[in-house]
């Protein structure tokens, strides 16, 4: 077994067996699922309070009160009293509010006032407005006295459904099109871009800590007689990359399984699924997913390798994590920039900013992966990937020089300038 393989194996085993890794790997998809499910649950149950809110209706028109239906936690009670006496009446002391409807409400729908004891909510106001609108609308149809008017009006309503297709010559020859969905592209784009960002950040920092540990515990000195510092650094970086990919693979399996389960469950009540979502799911065909997985692997690996070698160089220069703050800046700034630009790219994936940031190596892993779901010409992807890997080779050779000098340097914490000068030392 070669030495670098041994180093990779140790790095991988140590990380993967850690309790924190196992917990994170299992918990993360649950947390993410929770993040998606909780808003749905809140929307479903959260809006209806345990006791219905009583709204006393003072209707002098006689049109609105009979038409009001109790729904969404609202209970309407019609009263013959005036607003002033109803407000004082003991039987209405627990009422949430009073809806005062003017006598000419059919002619003038602004004759509508809601008094509430607590502050009202947008949902309550919308509900009342909609119910009153329907009642007044119905009344107006009756007053128009045209037979069959409501069915005529119903026929006049237009509900267009826009189905979008992307022309894709490669998919099935000339003129072949497949259904696409901007919503799903945006979702995939955001998720993948963000995962690459997070992984680079988390695993890069872990590399840095690992290097600091080996330096401050003098482990490097013990094994320098059998291993070249470059092997140690690369072994660490590659081992960690495998850990990250393992974690990602577990997530894909877990999330994929959950999605299948949800899909299966959703099919049982297909009518509950909005048309938009059906289209979205249909556009997720196998080729698209495979392409995305390939692009993710390509750009994640490249971006990770690039940043990990810089993190390793920073780690080699210091003896404890606290000293890294300032030295990390050249790494974290392009990363943050990439995330900021990604937000822009998701809304307009073809503009100049998107193009350049997906070509420049330090931001390209995140920006390119965010653009790919929307469709990117192959030459751009190829150029971006070639530049990314070429930059990695350059950076890793510089990082190795910094590492070689830094890993045996104790005492004062170096400045960035000093670290850059180490590059020129002959190894």
């Amino acid at each position: 077994m070669s030495k670098i393989a041994l180093i990779i194996q140790r790095e991988f085993n140590q990380r993967v067996r850690k309790r924190s890794f196992i917990i994170m790997t299992i918990l993360m998809p649950i947390l993410m699922a929770g993040l998606m499910i909780v808003p749905v649950l809140i929307a479903q149950y959260g809006s209806s309070p345990s006791a219905a809110r009583e709204i006393v209706v003072v209707d002098s028109s006689g049109v609105v009160a009979p038409a009001l239906r109790d729904e969404q936690g609202l209970a309407f009670t019609a009263t013959a009293m005036t607003y002033d006496s109803a407000r004082m009446a003991p039987q209405y002391s627990g009422a949430f509010g009073f809806l005062v409807v003017g006598p000419q409400v059919v002619g003038n729908p602004s004759e509508l006032t809601l008094y509430t004891r607590e502050s009202s909510t947008l949902a309550i106001e919308n509900n009342i407005r909609e119910q009153v609108r329907r009642a007044v609308y119905q009344k107006r149809i009756e007053q128009a006295n045209v037979p069959g008017l409501d069915s005529i009006l119903e026929r006049l309503q237009v509900y267009p459904v826009l189905t979008t297709y992307r022309l894709d010559a490669r998919a099935g020859g000339e003129g072949a099109a497949r259904e696409s969905s901007s919503a799903i592209s945006m979702g995939v784009s955001y998720a993948l871009g963000f995962i690459i960002y997070l992984f680079i950040f988390i695993y890069g920092a872990a590399i840095m800590q690992g290097v600091i540990e080996e330096k401050s515990n003098r482990i490097v000195e013990v094994i320098v007689s059998s291993v070249k510092p470059f092997q140690l650094m690369m072994g660490k970086i590659i081992g960690m990359a495998l850990v990250a990919l393992t974690q990602f693979a577990v997530w894909v399996v877990l999330i994929g399984g959950t999605m299948l389960a949800i899909q299966h469950f959703a099919l049982g009540c297909a009518d509950a699924m909005p048309a938009e979502l059906t289209t979205a799911v249909k556009s997720l065909d196998g080729i698209f997913l495979l392409k995305m997985a390939g692009a993710f692997l390509l750009f994640f690996t490249g971006g990770y390798l690039l940043y990990a070698s810089m993190y390793a160089a920073v780690g080699s220069a210091v003896e404890n994590v606290q000293d890294t703050q300032q030295l990390q800046l050249p790494i974290t700034i392009p990363l943050f920039l990439a995330v900021v630009v990604m937000m822009n790219v998701m809304h307009d994936p073809t503009n100049t900013v998107a193009f350049w940031f997906s070509i420049i190596p330090f931001t390209s892993p995140i920006i390119m992966i965010a653009r790919i779901p929307f469709g990117v010409p192959a030459w751009e992807v190829a150029l971006s990937a070639v530049l990314l890997y070429a930059t990695f080779l350059l950076i890793v050779s510089l990082a190795a020089k910094i590492y070689l000098t830094g890993i045996f340097m104790y005492g004062k914490k170096p400045t960035l300038g000093e670290m850059l000068r180490w590059i020129r030392y002959k190894g």
Partner: protein
């Protein structure tokens, strides 16, 4: 046998101070070589240069009497003064990893390690994490992984620190064993007793300079005054008279022993170099009852202190 390692005119400058100033030494193959010196003298810097962890500013290193190359480092086992182990890793797993990094295959590494772990009586620690170990325990593990691949040259930086006398004895025996099996050992230490016991050669560094170097027995003889100490029952004045003309004599502090109050002691310093010891002993024997007679050879401890003080204050010499 030739020198396995020699360093010639090594100079290492750090910002603000010179850590090594024109230091040279040659380590004969198969010897145990002591590198001595006060704290901060530059011992560790020299060991790190030999290991190619740092590069000297000038000077040359030779391995097997040819210029040392990067590949020669794999024939060296280095035990740094500060511990070099992963704290969160299990002891056995870690030892196995380090042994395999040093080129042993898996089964061989395991057999060797189990042999050493039994020898050092730490087999029960195999599945414990390193940060649960005491300093001495970790030192044992560290020592094992340093020697496991049987390097030709072993370099120990303060190997005895953190050891109780029993374990220090165990370690000394193992170092001697390794030497007998053909390894050459360089170690730095403050422990002068261990130097006397096991070192063949020493180099004493003070303030970045080599102030004393050579085989231990030669150094001790040359730093000796040539005096003898005699412990006896009888009259000191009578004895002083008996050796008059051969030696000058002065009273010596009695040594702590069971019959110290019964005995007298004198230090006899010969007036000429070529004194005949038989004649001297004969004269003493005729005058008093001899209980002890021996040449006074300075301890390494005395030599260390005297040499360092002399080099600190050049006007004294």
């Amino acid at each position: 046998m030739g020198d396995i390692l020699s360093a010639e005119n090594i100079i290492k400058q750090y910002a603000g101070h010179r850590a090594l100033d024109d230091v040279s030494l040659s380590v004969p193959e198969g010897s145990i070589y002591g590198l001595l010196g006060p704290n901060g003298a530059g011992k560790t810097t020299l060991l790190r240069i030999i290991n190619r962890i740092t590069a000297p500013d000038s000077g040359t290193l030779k391995f097997d009497e040819r210029p040392m190359t990067a590949d020669d480092v794999c024939r060296i086992g280095y035990l740094p003064e500060e511990r070099g182990l992963y704290k969160k890793m299990k002891v056995g797993e870690q030892a196995l990893y380090l042994a395999r990094l040093k080129g042993l295959d898996k089964t061989e590494a395991r057999t060797q390690l189990e042999m050493w772990f039994r020898k050092f009586n730490i087999m029960g620690w195999w599945d414990r994490k390193v940060d649960e170990l005491s300093k001495g325990m970790a030192q044992k593990v560290q020592f094992i992984v340093t020697v496991i691949h049987r390097p030709r040259l072993l370099i120990f930086d303060e190997p005895f620190s953190g050891f109780d006398p029993i374990n220090a004895q165990l370690l000394r025996d193992e170092i001697l064993n390794l030497r007998d099996e053909g390894a050459t050992v360089i170690f730095s230490t403050h422990n002068m007793a261990s130097v006397e016991e096991i070192c063949d050669h020493i180099t004493l560094i003070n303030k970045s300079r080599n102030i004393l170097t050579g085989p231990v027995d030669e150094i001790r003889r040359s730093w000796g005054t040539g005096s003898y100490r005699v412990d006896f029952a009888g009259d000191p004045v009578q004895l002083a008279g008996a050796v008059d003309g051969l030696c000058s004599s002065e009273p010596a502090a009695p040594e702590a022993s069971a019959d110290a109050d019964r005995l007298n002691s004198l230090v006899l310093t010969p007036l000429t170099r070529d004194i005949r010891v038989r004649e001297l002993v004969g004269r003493i024997n005729e005058t008093v009852e001899i209980h002890g007679f021996r040449e006074m050879i300075p301890s390494m401890n005395d030599i260390f202190i005297r040499a360092v003080e002399a080099s600190d204050d050049p006007t004294e010499k």
